[in-house]
Assembly symmetry: C2
Homo-oligomer: 452 residues x 2
């Protein structure tokens, strides 16, 4: 890698002063030897662990973030508070009562209502897909528990999730058909029994709210196997409560040397779901972006790199809060990016329209090539869910696309821990981010010019 | 496969009357189209689920076994009861108290003693290997909880387990050094959080009994990460009880047409651990051997195939009980084999010394080759833990070696469910067993002649 970098440096030494590929290549190679990301990731998962917004652990994570950015030399380290109505899990249990008794592994879905304290006991109606539920008559499920047991397709780009996750939010379809509760096969590519939770929209006025939970993949299959023999009865108890709490987004800068050139906003989200330690969702995103920004401190660059540790991604709110707090300064955000698909290799970089043709950005393709990161011509979309609000308000975004092939084996489950992170791939992420930041921090290209 | 079989049949048509490779190849190909094994496996895991010896579910499994063998046309279907002193799990919980509070995923080890009802709170001493614990001075661990955090190596043959599992039984080493409890990293090749239980020897007179449990792999790592920062305190509560119960081995025959030629004993074990549904440990072994024996019913053969569903493999006893009940008839058991390493492909057949040179057995190598099952010259060992007693008493054994590469990701954990079984590999197992049984049921070779 270093040999190739030297060659590349020679070849590209004559290119533009802004967006220097030689500097980008040096940062890339330094990242491949750097353990900052691993150390940040290990620290957050070990010292804080699970940290849903609205819990005491979220406040610990806030303090951790401030201390970590300060220790790493970031400036302008500060906390931005916003109100957070938080759904919090209490006791949950379920079992098949008959024909064959089995304990069930399940997790309530965020924003689910509770069952009565004694729980609900009812027969289950199994649908093999969300489409089958939607096609069922209104009379299908009166007094029943609906289970949608639709498997998820494994894909590199993660679009299998986008397809499958609609079933997680389908409790209203069951409610419309008279169901007393809604169960969904975990939105997961794994065969492990650990259930995968996730948030759903709060019930709307006029809707009949019913409890909703995710079953472990083998448990959903087990009910389906029994249902092929005859009626299956399940007992279900889901308890939760909602609190009016505060959430916090933590931010810190690596300053550029040209304040008028604006800032680049990057980061991951500080909150996590509760079953695991949130290593890949999203301590790794924080670790990767912190480490890449830290590397930038060693070289001169025009723009400030601002790392934002978003305070409430899983149940929403941090993007909107940031927009509200910074709406008058959005013009100074040149471009933004978020890392929130784990810690496996980056395979592509998506930039706003026209950017790959800019003379001081085009050489980035060669800098990323040794990392097996390709220049993707497809647009970056919203760039990450915490960026959606500012992106909709006009801030351009970029996306370093990560291999999501195994991400959904672990996501939102107890299996999201440090044990599943590959340190070599983690460094590759930092290298891709550092090289990209190096170019974006110096380029003269106007990312807004391709915007609609 | 069928085209190859036809060629093979032509080439081998002139070989010995006993041990007919053409018949073996036909059985092999029939097995690859047969769903009996899947149906048996689905039935046991769905209708009974977890079934430790000494529980009501073990009695359900016994009744299931009798009904299933009878329905499939086996004769001489009967139950053999034996006394079973059974260790049964009650409530268990553990958490890291400090420096950073975390719930821990753990399972008590079979035969562990209970903690006091209020549990044990103590500092943890972490050892990276069993060897490091054994090398530690007697004073190392007085009043402490010992954790051996030794990772397991993934191997095809499963010998990584033999190496790692010694740490599961090392509570006496901790006790000798004054420890108040013993924790072991799950004996697992997975990164999943679900702990893997397992049995250990009861404490011997004169030993100071201490509670022992297995931690989820990420949880063991988490303690190690914290211990690198300073003292770690864990609270642990393990409750269990022991009952004097009855266990049952279920047996049934596919008769041969030459009673004096003796019987072949095959099978898997009916009991399982409690966290999962025991799909690969060992409903699959029962399914594979039942299905292979059932196929044998369709063709004439000399020897009776006797399927034994062993009643207490996980915590021992069924092999010894069988020996005691059948010690006067061992001479009529020509050879025995057990399937107990899951449902992934068979990659080799091990036979007693000299057998591969027998003219009516040698052609089996060609029959197995299309399945990618090789003729292994290494001896078969004990042939399976339920066979150890009768093997020690002189019964020859064979071993169809299964790919164990992913077996220990799931073994003894809640992840051992039907969801991890590949139906295609399951059928390959049945094909290898059916072809092998076809030859063994007819051969004139004396498997005892190579015995010591």
């Amino acid at each position: 890698m270093q040999f190739r970098a030297a060659i590349l440096g020679l070849c590209l030494a004559a290119s533009a002063a802004w967006g220097d590929p030689q500097k980008a290549a040096q940062l890339r190679d330094a990242a491949l030897r750097d353990d900052t990301a691993w150390n940040v990731l290990e620290s957050l998962t070990t010292e804080v662990g699970p940290r849903p917004a609205g819990t005491p652990a979220a406040a610990q994570a806030r303090d951790w973030g401030v201390a970590k950015l300060t220790a790493l030399g970031f400036t302008n380290v500060h906390v931005e508070a916003f109100p957070k109505r938080a759904w919090l899990r209490d006791a949950e249990a379920a079992e098949i009562v008959g024909p064959f008794a089995h304990r069930l592994a399940l997790l309530g879905l965020g924003n689910s209502v509770s069952t009565p304290p004694a729980g609900i006991t009812a027969q289950v109606v199994v649908f093999d897909s969300l489409a089958a539920l939607k096609a069922a008559p209104q009379s299908c499920c009166v007094g029943k528990i609906v289970l949608v047991n639709q498997p998820m397709t494994r894909t590199q780009g993660g679009d299998g999730y986008g397809n499958a996750v609609r079933a997680r939010s389908a409790a209203p379809e069951a409610s419309l058909r008279g169901a007393v509760a809604y169960l969904v096969r975990s939105i997961s590519t794994s065969t492990a029994r650990a259930p995968h939770t996730g948030g759903v929209q709060p019930w709307k006025p006029g809707q009949r709210a019913i409890p909703a939970a995710a079953l472990g993949v083998p448990d959903a299959d087990l009910i389906a196997h029994m249902a092929a023999r005859g009626p299956v009865t399940v007992h279900l108890s889901l308890q939760s409560h909602v609190v009016d709490a505060t959430a916090w987004t933590v931010s810190g800068d690596i300053s550029g040397n040209e304040p008028a050139a604006g800032a680049i906003v990057i980061g991951g989200h500080l909150d996590s779901w509760d079953p695991g330690t949130g290593a890949i969702d999203d301590a790794s995103g924080i670790a990767i972006t912190v480490a890449a920004a830290k590397l930038m401190a060693a070289t001169p660059h025009r723009r400030t790199i601002r790392v934002v540790m978003w305070g409430s991604e899983e149940t929403g709110g941090s993007g909107a809060a940031y927009l509200a707090a910074h709406k008058d300064e959005l013009g100074s955000i040149v471009i933004a990016g978020e890392s929130d698909v784990g810690a496996d290799n980056v395979y592509g970089l998506q930039l706003p329209e026209g950017a790959w043709n800019a003379p001081d950005i085009a050489p980035l393709e060669s800098v990323l090539a040794p990392l097996k990161v390709m220049a993707m011509r497809a647009p970056p979309g919203e760039g990450g869910s915490d960026l959606e609000a500012i992106h909709d308000a006009g801030v351009p975004v970029f996306a370093l696309r990560q291999d999501a092939s195994r991400y959904f084996d672990y996501h939102h489950s107890q299996d999201d821990t440090l044990a599943i992170v590959d340190p070599v791939q983690l460094r590759q992420n930092v290298a891709a981010w550092a090289a990209t930041l190096s170019i974006l921090a110096d380029t003269n290209f106007d990312f807004r010019k391709g915007q609609k």
